[in-house]
C-alpha cells in the first residue's frame, strides 16, 4: 500500500506513456485542435428520479435546470445503469460496466464474481477515462463531488485524469460532515488534488461546496486558453436527505395529497408536456406500499415530510447548478460550453432505517443510532438520517415501474438535458433517440476531435448538430444486467427479467412507446419477438463478460415483504384523475 502510494505518480506516468491506442490517438489528435474546441460541463445528480424536474413533469421548483431544458434539448429515452458506480464507470469510459471493473457494485459483489475480470469493484486502469483522454488532448480537467470508482491511489480522480479535484470517494455519507452512511464506511474519505483528506471546507454542505470548489477551480485557471472538462458529480439527492435548516420546511404541506395523487398529477402533466403518450398508464403502486388515503392522518403527515425534504434537497441542487451556470455566463465561458445533465440511476426506494430498527442488535444497525438521529423532527437536519422510501421513489420515477436497483424503467431511465452554445434546437423534446450513458464519453471526444473508436458507446455528435434523430438504428440494442436482473431494448420493445419479488422472475415483454409503465406483459402475444430479444441479450452478455451473480439483494426479499395480493387493488386509480385535496381538505384547482 505504502509502495503503491509512494510510486503511484510514477506508475501513472508509465502507464499513460505506454497506454492504450486510444490514448496515443488522442494525443495526436490534440495537436490538430484549436482552442475553439468546446468546454464540457457534465453534471450528475445522485438518485434523482425521471420526473422530478419541472421540465420533466415534476412539481419541484427547478428553474435553473428548466431554463437549461428550455434553451437546450430534453431526451426522454436516455438509459443509465441501475445503480451508482456501474453508471459512473460507463460514463467515465464509454464502455459497458461489466468490462471496466464494475460488473457489480463493489459492496454487492457475489461470491461467484469475486476475482473475476470485470468485477473488481473499481474502475480498471486499462480503460482510459474521458478525463485522461481529454487531458491528453490538451483539455483542463476538473472534478468535484462523488467518485465511487476506487479508493486506492491508482484509482482516485487525480490518478484517472483529473488535474484538480475535490472528491468524495465513497458511495454516500452525511452532506454536512465526515460521517459515513453505512457501517462499511463510518467516515467519508475525500481527496483534494490527489491528496487524501478528511478536512472539509468551512460550512461544508455537499451540494454547495462541490459547486464552490468547481467555480474556484475554473476561476483560478480562467486566463488559460485551453478548453476544459468540468465533472460536477453531486451527491444530492442521495440519502441521507439533508438540507440547510432554512430550506427544511420549504415544501411543508405541498404533498399532503399523497403519493397516489402526486403520481397521477405528474402523469397528467407529462402527457400535457408531450413527455409520454396520451395513452400511457402508470405502473401499479407497489404491493407493499399502502394506498395513501388508507393511512391515518397522522401517518400521512410523517410520510409526506420525507417528500418535503427530498424536494428541498432537489431545489437546492437546482439553485447551485444555477450558480454554476451564472458563473460560466459572467465569466464569458458559457458561449463555448456544452452542458449535460443526468442522474446516475433511478430514485432510491430502499430505506435502511426500518430494517435497522428491526435488528437493533447488529453493528450495522448500531451505526445508525450511534451516528444519526432518526426522529421525525430530525429528518433533513445535519445530524438526521432519512430516506424517502419506495412510495415516494415511485413518484420520482413516474410513470415508470420500480426504482434504483431494478432494470424496469424506473431504475434505469434518467432525465437528460443537453445545452449547447447558441442554444441549438432550443426547447426541443427528443423522444426518438435511444441513448445510453456510455455514449457521453465518445460524444465529448467526438466533439473535441479525439478518437473514440475503443469505446462501445455511440457519439451523439450528429444528433446534437441536428443531422440525425438518434445514434442508434432500428437494430441497435441497449442491454443491461444488474443484481441478476436483465433487460434488453430494441426500438420500442423491451424484454426484461426481474427477479422475484420485485419482478416476475421470468422474461416479460413490453412495448415502451405505448406502455412506459410496463403494465401489460406481451410475452404471450409476441413469443417470437421475445425470443429474438432474449437472444440479443445473450449476445450482449457473452460480448461483455456478464457473470450472473449467485447471490443478490433479491434473495430472501420475499420473506421480508408482505405477500403480493392476487390481483391489483381495485382501489388503485391507475392513471385516472382524482381530486386533489389541500391541507384543509379543500379541493385544489389544477
Amino acid at each position: 500500500m505504502a509502495f503503491s502510494r509512494k510510486y503511484s505518480g510514477l506508475i501513472r506516468i508509465v502507464r499513460l506513456a505506454i497506454g492504450s491506442s486510444a490514448l496515443t490517438v488522442a494525443t495526436i489528435a490534440s495537436a490538430q485542435q484549436t482552442d475553439e474546441r468546446p468546454n464540457f460541463v457534465l453534471i450528475v445528480a445522485d438518485d434523482l428520479g425521471f420526473s422530478d424536474l419541472g421540465s420533466f413533469g415534476g412539481e419541484i421548483n427547478t428553474p435553473n435546470l428548466d431554463r437549461l431544458a428550455q434553451e437546450g434539448v430534453r431526451y426522454t429515452n436516455f438509459y443509465v445503469g441501475a445503480s451508482c458506480s456501474p453508471t459512473r464507470s460507463m460514463l467515465m469510459t464509454g464502455n459497458d460496466n461489466h468490462r471496466v471493473g464494475m460488473g457489480n457494485m463493489y459492496e454487492m459483489t457475489a461470491p461467484n464474481q469475486l476475482n473475476q475480470q470485470g468485477y473488481e469493484g473499481i474502475l480498471r486502469r486499462d480503460f482510459p477515462t474521458i478525463a485522461e483522454l481529454l487531458k491528453s488532448a490538451g483539455y483542463r480537467t476538473y472534478m468535484t463531488g462523488k467518485w465511487h470508482l476506487g479508493h486506492e491511489p491508482d484509482y482516485i480522480p487525480r490518478a484517472r485524469g483529473f488535474d484538480r479535484d475535490f472528491s468524495l470517494l465513497n458511495a454516500a455519507g452525511s452532506h454536512f460532515t465526515l460521517t459515513g452512511s453505512r457501517i462499511e464506511n463510518e467516515k467519508s474519505e475525500f481527496t483534494r488534488d490527489g491528496q487524501y483528506t478528511r478536512k472539509l471546507p468551512k460550512n461544508y454542505y455537499s451540494t454547495r461546496t462541490f459547486t464552490d470548489e468547481m467555480i474556484g477551480f475554473l476561476d483560478a485557471d480562467r486566463d488559460k486558453d485551453s478548453p476544459f472538462l468540468a465533472y460536477l458529480a453531486y451527491q444530492a439527492p442521495h440519502d441521507p436527505l439533508q438540507v440547510p435548516d432554512d430550506w427544511l420546511r420549504r415544501y411543508k404541506g405541498k404533498f399532503d395529497y399523497g403519493w397516489d395523487r402526486l403520481r397521477n398529477r405528474r402523469l397528467a402533466r407529462m402527457k400535457q408536456m408531450g413527455l409520454v403518450s396520451e395513452g400511457a398508464e402508470l405502473s401499479p403502486r407497489l404491493w407493499f406500499v399502502p394506498e395513501f388515503d388508507d393511512m391515518t392522518k397522522a401517518s400521512r403527515v410523517t410520510a409526506v415530510r420525507k417528500m418535503e425534504i427530498y424536494a428541498s434537497v432537489v431545489e437546492y441542487l437546482d439553485w447551485q447548478i444555477g450558480r454554476m451556470i451564472e458563473y460560466l455566463e459572467q465569466s464569458g465561458q458559457l458561449d463555448n460550453t456544452i452542458i449535460l445533465f443526468i442522474s446516475d440511476n433511478g430514485p432510491e426506494g430502499n430505506d435502511p432505517i426500518p430494517g435497522a430498527k428491526r435488528q437493533p442488535n447488529l453493528e450495522s444497525s448500531s451505526f445508525f443510532y450511534n451516528n444519526y438521529e432518526t426522529h421525525f423532527n430530525a429528518w433533513g437536519r445535519d445530524y438526521g438520517f432519512v430516506a424517502y422510501g419506495a412510495p415516494w421513489a415511485q413518484v420520482s420515477a413516474t410513470p415508470f415501474k420500480s426504482y434504483k436497483g431494478a432494470v424496469y424503467e424506473g431504475g434505469i431511465r434518467s432525465p437528460l438535458i443537453v445545452w449547447q452554445p447558441g442554444k441549438k434546437q432550443a426547447g426541443e423534446l427528443n423522444q426518438q433517440a435511444l441513448l445510453h450513458v456510455m455514449d457521453i464519453a465518445p460524444t465529448m471526444l467526438d466533439l473535441a476531435g479525439v478518437d473514440h473508436s475503443s469505446m462501445q458507446g455511440l457519439s451523439w455528435a450528429e444528433m446534437l448538430s441536428g443531422r440525425q434523430l438518434s445514434p442508434r438504428g432500428e437494430d441497435d440494442i441497449i442491454a443491461m444486467q444488474m443484481f441478476g436482473a436483465m433487460m434488453v431494448r430494441r426500438g420500442d420493445w423491451k424484454a426484461v427479467m426481474m427477479p422475484e419479488p420485485i419482478g416476475e422472475g421470468r422474461w416479460e415483454l413490453f412495448n415502451l412507446a405505448r406502455d412506459p409503465g410496463e403494465t401489460n406483459d406481451l410475452a404471450a402475444q409476441h413469443p417470437e419477438r421475445l425470443e429474438t430479444l432474449m437472444a440479443a441479450w445473450d449476445e450482449y452478455a457473452k460480448a461483455n463478460n456478464v457473470i450472473l451473480p449467485n447471490r443478490t439483494p433479491y434473495d430472501g426479499l420475499a420473506d421480508r415483504l408482505p405477500p403480493k395480493p392476487p390481483v391489483v387493488s381495485p382501489g388503485w386509480p391507475r392513471g385516472q384523475e382524482t381530486n386533489w385535496i389541500d391541507r384543509s381538505g379543500n379541493e385544489i384547482e389544477e
Partner: protein, 325 residues
Amino acid sequence: MKLIKLSIAALLLAFPSAAWAQYEGPRVDWPLPRMTNVVGVTYADADANAAFTVLNRVEPEVEIESNVFILSYTRSQPIFDRTVHWQLQMPIGNVDTDSNLPIPAGRSFRDGVGDLTFGATVNLIGAPDLPVREALRYDLDTTVGLGISVTAPTGTYESDEVLNLGSNQWSARVSVPIIKSLGDWVPGRRMTLEVKPSVRFFGNNSNSFGETIEQDPLLALEAHLTRDLTKDAFISLDYNLIEGGDQTFTDSSTGMLVEERDGPGAQSLGFTFGYTVNENLSLFVGHHQTIAESSNPFELRGSLTTVRLTWSWHPVLQRRSDFQD
C-alpha cells in the same frame, strides 16, 4: 407508530399542573394537540412568610410551612382555529407554623381546600389549532399567547385566622406567555426562552380580623431558560419577579384606615427538572428560593419545592396505542 407517541409525549412532558399564586413553571404554555387532556397533581412544600395559596397576608418574621396538593385538569380545545388551553385547578392541603413569634391570635395549623381557579390561554401568534397531524409537524419558533384566569373565593377561610388556604377574595389574572425556541425543535435538542409577564387584579377581602383588605394589582414576570437533556428529560433555570400588590387594611365596620403595607415584592431563582416516564406519565421536580431581600418587611421570603406528576392522554392516540399493545 412509536414516532407519534414520542412526539406527543414530548409535548406533554411539560404540561402544567402546579400553579403557585404567581408562578406556573417552565414549558407549561407549549402548544398541545387539540383534545389533549392532562390531569396533574402537584405536591408543594413551601417555607415562607405567607401561606402558599394566599398572598394577601404576608407576615413578617413568621415562618409558615405549607404542604399543599394542587389538583388540576387541563384540556386543549381550540377556538377560532387557535390553540386554547382550558384549565381548572384546586389546591388542597394544610398550612402550619411552629413559630413562637407574636402573631395574631388563632391556630397554628389549618387544613382544607384552596380557592378554585378557572382559566384559559389562547395562542395569538405562532400556534394555530393543532390537530394531531399538525401537532406532529409543528416546529415551535415563537409563540405569543394571552391567558386569563379567575380565582374564586371558594377555599377554606376563617376570618379570625391568620393561616388560611382560601383567600376570601376574587382575583383575575391576565398573562402574556411568550416562547422563543433557541434551537432545533427536535426532542433531545430543544432549548427555549420563556417569558411571561402577568398582572393579577384583586377584589377585596371584606373580612380579615374585622378588617377589609384592598390590594393593588400584582405584577409578575416569570422567565425560564429550558434545555432538553435527553429526549425524555429537560432542565430549566427559572426566575420569578413579583411587584406591586400593596395592601390597605381598613376597619370593616367604620371604614377607618388601619394599616398600609407594601406588597409582597420579591424575586426568586430556581430550577426545574422534568422527565417523561412514559407516553402518559411525566414527572417534574423543582426548587425555588427568594433572593435579593429588601427592607420591605412584607416582602415574600422563603422557598418552594415542588414535585409534580401529570397524566396526559389524547383519545385518538390512546386508542391507537391500546390497539398496538
